[in-house]
């Protein structure tokens, strides 16, 4: 066995073991708790999870046992090991998911500790990690490479774009912003005033007279918020927060600083240390309470998103399993289409691309003898039922056709006699903005404006006639090489909407198509909620795209945590100023991009207004 193989085996063992430990450990722990706390009805499923977890571990140990590889004369190829892992792990993993989902559905939040549900969710997360890992393995084997390190990075999994509709019930459940708050101040009077005010608002309050006492209290109770005095004798506020941030169990508790020092330096230091807000003494208790409740609200929002994300991932997995077969049929079909006639009108010649919605072919309009591009849609929600197809036929063109030189010309749409939805467009030559961004680290200011301005121009026109694009991203901006030079063309107008089966529910469309559309890197904050939005959502996406062109990266990267993490960033995090990433960007350009990135749609320019700003640069 080669050194490389030994390393690879040990890496596989290590990667698999962490989620396995979580499944086994947390289920075992929950069995104990369920037994102690008279939750006997839950133990059956927990024991099944635990048993399945042990089976998974045994299988991993058996398959990856180093001695097994030594005893054989011929090498066991990576592909066969991967296949063996996939085959042996699928069934017990399915059992884990099934039982865990049943538990998550049946557990009544009023009956169990908050941790209980959290622990079940950790089991799901671990299960999802394993699943992603296994899926990654089979892909890696097919391409004959050693497993890429990127497998577990969420952006490499196809993921839904919206967390909008699913978690509404949980949102309604938690109406008030009531929390457990720790007041830390060495001045007894301050402590007393704040505690009383907060209690009057219905919060649970604990108080500590110093830093060490505060940290000791945090070890025993899970606080939702800490109000932290800066100057204390035994240990100052900065040291307290430093220790909190170093402890993974405390790191995410929001901290509001309270300080007698009203200087910028102190405030900056407080925020840099990880404080979420800052109040100066002498304080008005009402203000402190309002700020505290504001923070509790943000925390609640983050928890909700986490839950919704979890739920969405689960539904998504189900959906994907169901869809996988149709996918296989479609890919077979896509390969078989070249050389065939579509509706007696279009002769499909060769495939020129494929993406979320399906495959695109270079085709010839037989009557006109003119080359066109035909997009053939894969079966998905919205076009996999007779009503969906009928709607596509009826509304496909009006929803996707914008009469503008910078919008791709949509010529025809229909349903073939074989029941396949298709759209016929002018044939474009060249590349997408994604390609250009991949070739160059970043674009120049002039080039960025040159591309963004026509895109914005089309959007202004589309919004005027009531069409929102809904999927503005570099993939959908085509740099068409016409005889007279480059023309920027925006493609896929309104498709996200027309492909949704249920009228008036764009967000559902986004969710359902989402698995195929990718991560919500370009999605406006307001779209994460089930509320109406307007064209300014496209302007936000435009802002993200412009940010990416100028700095070489999108402001909110899905590093870990997938949709949830990105959604939270869109909602709460300010993008890093462009000029910190690229000094050459003029202040006025930065200011224009930041306007498009306003979190509140009301404060964002419309496409028309944004166009004027771009033109004035």
């Amino acid at each position: 066995m080669s050194d490389e193989q030994i390393t690879e085996l040990s890496r596989l063992r290590h990667e698999l073991r962490t989620p396995l430990n979580a499944i086994i450990g947390y289920s075992e722990m929950l069995i104990e708790e369920a037994e102690d706390e008279n939750l006997g009805d839950l133990t059956d499923d927990l024991k099944k999870i635990h048993g399945a977890g042990r089976n998974l571990l045994e299988a991993v140990n058996r398959i990856l046992d180093p001695s097994r590889f030594e005893s054989r004369h011929q090498d066991i190829g990576a592909a066969s090991v991967h296949e063996e892992i996939r085959r042996s792990l699928s069934a017990p993993l399915a059992e884990v998911f099934q039982c865990n989902e049943r538990l998550l559905r049946s557990v009544d939040a009023s009956r169990v500790r908050e941790n209980f549900i959290g622990d079940l969710e950790r089991i799901s997360v671990a299960g999802n990690k394993l699943l992603a890992f296994i899926n990654g393995l089979s892909q890696a084997s097919q391409s004959q490479t050693i497993i890429p390190q990127t497998i577990l990075r969420p952006e490499h999994r196809a993921e839904p774009t919206s967390i909008a509709t699913i978690g509404r019930a949980t949102v309604a459940m938690e109406a008030g912003e009531i929390g457990l708050i720790l007041v830390v101040d060495d001045n007894e009077m301050n402590r007393d005033i704040l505690s009383r005010y907060l209690k009057r608002q219905g919060h649970d309050v604990a108080a500590a007279a110093g830093g060490s006492e505060a940290l000791a209290l945090m070890k025993h109770r899970r606080f939702d918020l800490v109000l932290l005095d800066v100057m204390m004798d035994d240990m100052d506020g900065f040291e307290v927060i430093r220790r909190m941030k170093a402890d993974p169990l405390l790191a995410d508790i929001p901290v509001i600083f309270i300080s007698a020092l009203d200087d910028t330096e102190g405030k900056v230091r407080a925020f840099k240390a990880g404080g979420v807000d800052y109040v100066t003494k002498p304080f008005h208790a009402e203000e402190v309470v309002a700020r505290a409740e504001n923070q509790l609200k943000i925390s609640r929002l983050q928890r909700e998103l986490a839950r919704q994300n979890h739920e969405l991932m689960r539904k998504n997995d189900e959906l994907m399993a169901a869809r996988k077969r149709t996918e296989l049929v479609f890919s077979a079909l896509a390969e078989a289409l070249p050389g065939t006639m579509l509706d007696d009108k279009y002769h499909l010649e060769h495939k020129i691309g494929s993406g979320g919605f399906g495959a695109v072919y270079h085709a010839l309009h037989r009557g006109l003898n003119r080359p066109v591009a035909v997009k053939v849609f894969r079966p998905m929600r919205g076009n996999d039922s007779p009503e969906g197809l009928e709607r596509f036929q009826r509304e496909g063109i009006s929803a996707s056709r914008i009469n503008h030189p910078n919008a791709v010309a949509v010529l025809d749409c229909g349903i073939s006699t074989a029941g396949i939805a298709y759209l016929v467009m002018e044939l474009l030559e060249g590349k997408t903005l994604t390609d250009e961004l991949q070739e160059k680290e970043r674009l120049t200011i002039a080039r960025s404006i040159e591309i963004i301005t026509p895109v914005c121009d089309v959007l202004a026109e589309a919004h005027r006639i009531g069409i929102i694009h809904r999927d503005i991203k570099p993939d959908n901006v085509f740099l068409h090489q016409a005889r007279e030079g480059e023309i920027v063309k925006v493609v896929d107008f309104g498709l996200a909407k027309v492909l949704d089966a249920e009228k008036g529910s764009d967000l559902k469309a986004m969710t359902m198509a989402g698995k195929i559309l990718g991560t919500p890197v370009y999605t406006a904050p307001e779209r994460f909620f089930d509320k109406p939005y307007d064209g300014r959502a496209d302007v936000y996406s435009l802002g993200i795209m412009m940010y990416e062109m100028l700095t070489g990266r999108v402001p909110f990267q899905p590093i870990e945590g997938g949709i949830y993490a990105v959604a939270v960033m869109h909602l709460t995090k300010e993008p890093e100023p462009l000029r910190e990433l690229n000094r050459d960007i003029p202040e006025e350009v930065e200011a224009v991009v930041m306007k498009a990135l306003a979190k509140d749609a009301e404060k964002r320019p419309t496409a028309e207004e944004f166009l004027q700003m771009l033109k004035s640069l």
């Binding site: 290590h14 450990g25 170093a246």
Partner: protein, 125 residues
């Protein structure tokens, strides 16, 4: 109430093991790397140390060696926890001065028996 110092860098393992030990009436303090483990062994005077072996900063083998060579801490029993089920690890752990050895994933009854043997039987809460 016996006090256990748990030295473990994985947040999840730390969370699980500490909660389960606390349910059984132990007080648990935690360190997240080898260096912090050595410091806390001296400052917290625990009755027992559970030491993960693959730790950042300094690993569990080295941390145990330092604990066992310090007059103030050398009497504290150390149980090594490793993820490797290889036979050499047990010898290596004992050689580093560990008083006992267990493998991950943790089987709690087995680990509890080892803990009890080293600190005396604790009443269940």
């Amino acid at each position: 109430m016996a006090k256990i110092l748990l030295v473990e860098d994985n947040e999840m393992n730390r969370d699980m093991l500490s909660r389960r030990l606390e349910r059984r009436g132990y007080a648990v303090v935690m360190a997240t790397d080898g260096n912090q483990g050595v410091e806390m062994a001296a400052s917290q005077s625990p009755d027992l140390i559970l030491m993960d072996m693959s730790l950042p900063v300094i690993d569990g083998w080295e941390a145990t060696r330092r604990i066992k060579s310090d007059e103030r801490t050398k009497a504290i029993p150390v149980i090594a926890l490793t993820a490797h089920a290889m036979s050499g690890d047990r010898e290596k752990a004992l050689e580093a001065g560990c008083d006992d050895y267990d493998i991950k994933p943790i089987e709690l009854p087995r680990l509890l028996a080892k803990i009890e043997a080293l600190v005396g039987k604790e009443p269940q809460q």
